[in-house]
């Protein structure tokens, strides 16, 4: 190493601690449920904590069976009395209103989301919240054009949709669920995740501002018990769930027995495939985006890197260097790249799996960042010398942990990418278009990103194959899940 590299005449740039003000969140001390157009009195409250500090943000209500029942009944009334028969053009205008209100309150929502989830403000500000607004905007336009969506001239809604969403993109998942359901003429009961109820409750206030008729959307917070009450409620016609494959199986059993319509968006173990001719610098950024975006709490994360053997060392070296540059820390700081792990339980799971990776003989490299001493944190980590039998190559870690495997031929790359019961998303990196399309055709995945990763858009259908679930969210295809067609 040249000595000249160690000394800079003017030193390095220091970034500002540029935190968004937590007070922008305007949090209340405690929250009730949003049922029939208004908030109930809080009861049976639990803490929701800021994972970056471990401190309590607010109290939220764990909805009881009676609460869920009230919400479903309210949704049924609203469906039959108001929403189902409202002209699509009127439903559209409500959705446009919601989209605009999300835009207007985007800063507040970004701060709330970052506080409750632990993800960097840069992501909530630039990804989660704008995309949530865009989803409402997109589906608003469908509400009066359903007959042109390709499912017959006058498709009917299904009725009351029970929707259970995860903690990794709380508001965005709410938008993915609510917007197409409402556009199609359904009414909804939405159950946010127990560790991230707050942005959905702000959304409830937005629905109030939008003057959405009471009962069209009901929001019941709570844990898995509330979720189970919702999906097994006999008044629910359609169940939509995003979450783990294990819970997905249970819900499919319930729905199968009851004959409910069902869509599932579950886990994944996405392969990011890098060919030797790939644009190297963009590959490194793509790998980083693929696994460290949202702390790796992404069902479609590129958690397996499949790199052509001839360039594996080079990619790994550059990747490690890049990982050392990631700024891990205060999620409210605008310069933060990687935020906090969402919960103690998730941190324990990540820790357990990475320890298994080390025990199984994979080589671990963790970024040299300094982690805060309170809250839940995990340094960006990459495992090399991983074989397909290792747990870290097979199980969804749902954290900032990448497993690197190598391949020699396109066939081998495809075979390894598909060697998982999951099938949500994959990446392909190459400058050779014909091969990229050849690989894309053979990947068992609902989404294939070529020379990019983790891109989302309301017009673009998203969803899995095999054990990553079924049904699509986004695009014209996303309407099918909420129409009786």
């Amino acid at each position: 190493m040249s000595d000249s590299f160690l000394t800079s005449p003017l030193g390095a740039l220091e970034y500002a601690p540029a935190p968004e003000s937590a007070s922008l969140a305007r949090l209340r001390d405690s929250y009730g449920l949003f049922i029939d157009g208004s908030f109930t009195e809080p009861h049976s409250v639990s803490d929701t904590v800021n994972p970056a500090t471990g401190e309590r943000l607010a109290l939220y209500t764990r909805a009881s069976s009676e609460d869920v029942d009230a919400a479903v009944r309210s949704a049924r009334r609203a469906y039959e009395m108001v929403w189902r028969d409202m002209p699509g053009s009127e439903r559209a205008k409500y959705l446009y209103r919601i989209a605009r209100l999300i835009q207007e309150r985007s800063r507040e929502l970004a701060v709330v989301e970052t506080l409750d989830n632990g993800k960097p403000i840069r992501e909530t500000r630039d990804v989660d919240i704008p995309l949530a607004a865009a989803h409402f905007f997109y589906y608003a336009g469908w509400a009066d054009k359903l007959g042109y969506a390709g499912f017959g001239p006058a498709p009917r809604p299904l009725g009351v949709a029970g929707q259970v969403i995860p903690w990794n993109f709380p508001l965005l998942m709410a938008a993915w669920k609510l917007a197409p359901a409402l556009a199609a003429g359904n009414t909804c009961v939405l159950k946010p995740a127990e560790t991230t109820p707050l942005s959905a409750l702000v959304l409830a206030d937005i629905l109030r501002q939008a003057e959405l008729p009471p009962g069209v959307v009901n929001i019941v917070t709570g844990d898995g018990v509330t979720g189970a009450d919702l999906v097994s409620h006999p008044g629910v016609d359609k169940i939509a769930f995003t979450g783990s494959t294990e819970v997905g199986r249970i819900i499919q059993r319930v729905a199968a027995r009851a004959g409910r319509h069902l869509t599932l968006e579950l886990g994944g173990k996405g392969a990011n495939i890098v060919f030797e001719d790939a644009p190297l610098d963009e590959v490194i950024e793509g790998i980083i985006d693929g696994i460290f975006f949202n702390q790796g709490h992404v069902c479609c994360a590129g958690s397996r890197l499949l790199v052509e053997e001839s360039m594996a060392d080079e990619v790994l070296r550059r990747l490690r260097r890049r990982m050392d540059q990631l700024r891990v820390g205060d999620p409210l700081d605008k310069n933060t790249d990687v935020g906090a792990i969402n919960s103690a339980a998730q941190l324990a799971k990540i820790t357990e799996l990475t320890e298994a990776g080390e025990r199984e003989g994979a080589e671990r490299y963790s970024a040299s960042c300094v982690l805060p001493d309170r809250g839940y944190w995990f340094a960006p980590t990459v495992f090399s010398n991983v074989s397909q039998t290792h747990r870290i190559a097979r199980e969804e870690i749902f954290g900032p942990v990448l497993s690197v495997l190598t391949f020699r031929t396109p066939d081998e790359a495809v075979a390894k990418a598909n060697n998982t019961p999951y099938g949500l998303a994959c990446g392909v990196w190459s400058e050779k278009g014909s091969r990229t399309l050849w690989v894309a055709e053979r990947l068992k995945a609902g989404v294939v990103w070529a020379n990019t990763y983790n891109q989302f858009d309301p017009t673009s259908p998203f969803g899995g194959v095999r054990e990553s679930g079924f049904g699509r969210e986004g695009g014209r295809q996303g309407l099918e899940a909420y129409l009786d067609v």
Partner: protein
């Protein structure tokens, strides 16, 4: 002149383009509408299910990758073969008094033609380009979910059976079909015609046997991706629940279903993004 003695046909299974007996050696009697003996039919075992799924899985990549045009040609060819055997097929339809066997066959053939025409339309009708807000070319392609197992309608309706296999076939899936236990003959005869239709071995596999015995085996087989419960009748909920263990796509017919519902049931949309720039 003495009447010529019929040469009776031995009904077997269709697995990987071949016609084996059940590995178990078991058969059962199929009777006509008046209760008279018609044939001994193979009674498939769990192992036959396993073989049929293996065959379907093996044929999957090839059938899925075959051009939509070729798939259409093959399915249409199957209809052509059936057309020349209309009378034979009608003779095998074991129908209740009110049912018109010839009409059932004619409709079944017409339905095959309908599906043959879908092969190269599905991607256009259910896929498409998506105008994402960024420098990406983004397109969605409907793709087969993989291996589909279907339970034929117990009525023995030939058109019902065609629905239960051809919808999955024309979208690129490979199929394991369990026939109506009491009325399997016409469907099996129609399936046999695939041997002269260039349908690659393993794309359509047909079993006869006891749905009560085999239903659970099929529904819980992890390597079956989709389940058509048309003939699931009262066991439908059980089968659907077993299917949940491996997150299968399931289709259960409803009154007044649009026929495209079945077509869409075993499609998974894959969306591909590619950067646009230089």
């Amino acid at each position: 002149m003495s009447e010529r003695l019929d040469v009776k046909k031995t009904y077997k299974l269709l697995i990987k383009g071949q016609f084996p007996r059940s590995e178990s050696g078991r058969t059962y009697e199929v009777l006509d509408a008046r209760g008279a003996f018609l044939a001994n039919v193979a009674r498939a075992s769990r192992k036959d299910v396993r073989e049929a799924v293996l065959a379907a899985r093996g044929a999957q990549p090839g059938w899925s990758a075959a051009s939509a045009y070729l798939k259409g040609q093959i399915l249409y060819r199957w209809a052509e073969m059936a057309e020349s055997r209309r009378r034979d097929l009608a003779d095998l339809v074991i129908s209740p008094e009110t049912h018109d066997a010839e009409r059932d066959v004619a409709e079944a053939i017409d339905r095959l033609v309908w599906y043959a025409g879908w092969t190269d339309k599905v991607a256009q009708v259910y896929g498409g380009a998506n105008p994402v807000a960024g420098p990406y070319f983004n397109f969605s392609l409907p793709r087969p979910c993989g291996v589909v197992a279907s339970f034929a309608p117990p009525s023995g309706s030939l058109v019902g059976w065609v629905d239960s296999v051809a919808a999955a076939l024309c979208t690129g899936n490979t199929v394991l079909s369990l026939l109506s236990p009491s009325r399997p003959l016409a469907a099996f005869a129609l399936a046999e015609l695939t041997a002269t239709s260039d349908l690659p071995p393993g794309v359509l596999n047909v079993l006869t046997g006891d749905p009560g015995e085999l239903g659970e085996v099929i529904a819980r087989h992890e390597d079956v991706d989709g389940l058509d419960l048309t003939g699931g009748d009262e066991r439908g909920a059980d089968l659907a629940e077993w299917a949940a263990d491996s997150l299968k796509r399931t289709y259960r017919p409803h009154e007044g279903d649009d026929p495209t519902r079945r077509l869409r049931a075993f499609i998974d949309t894959t969306t591909v993004w590619h950067t646009v720039g230089y």
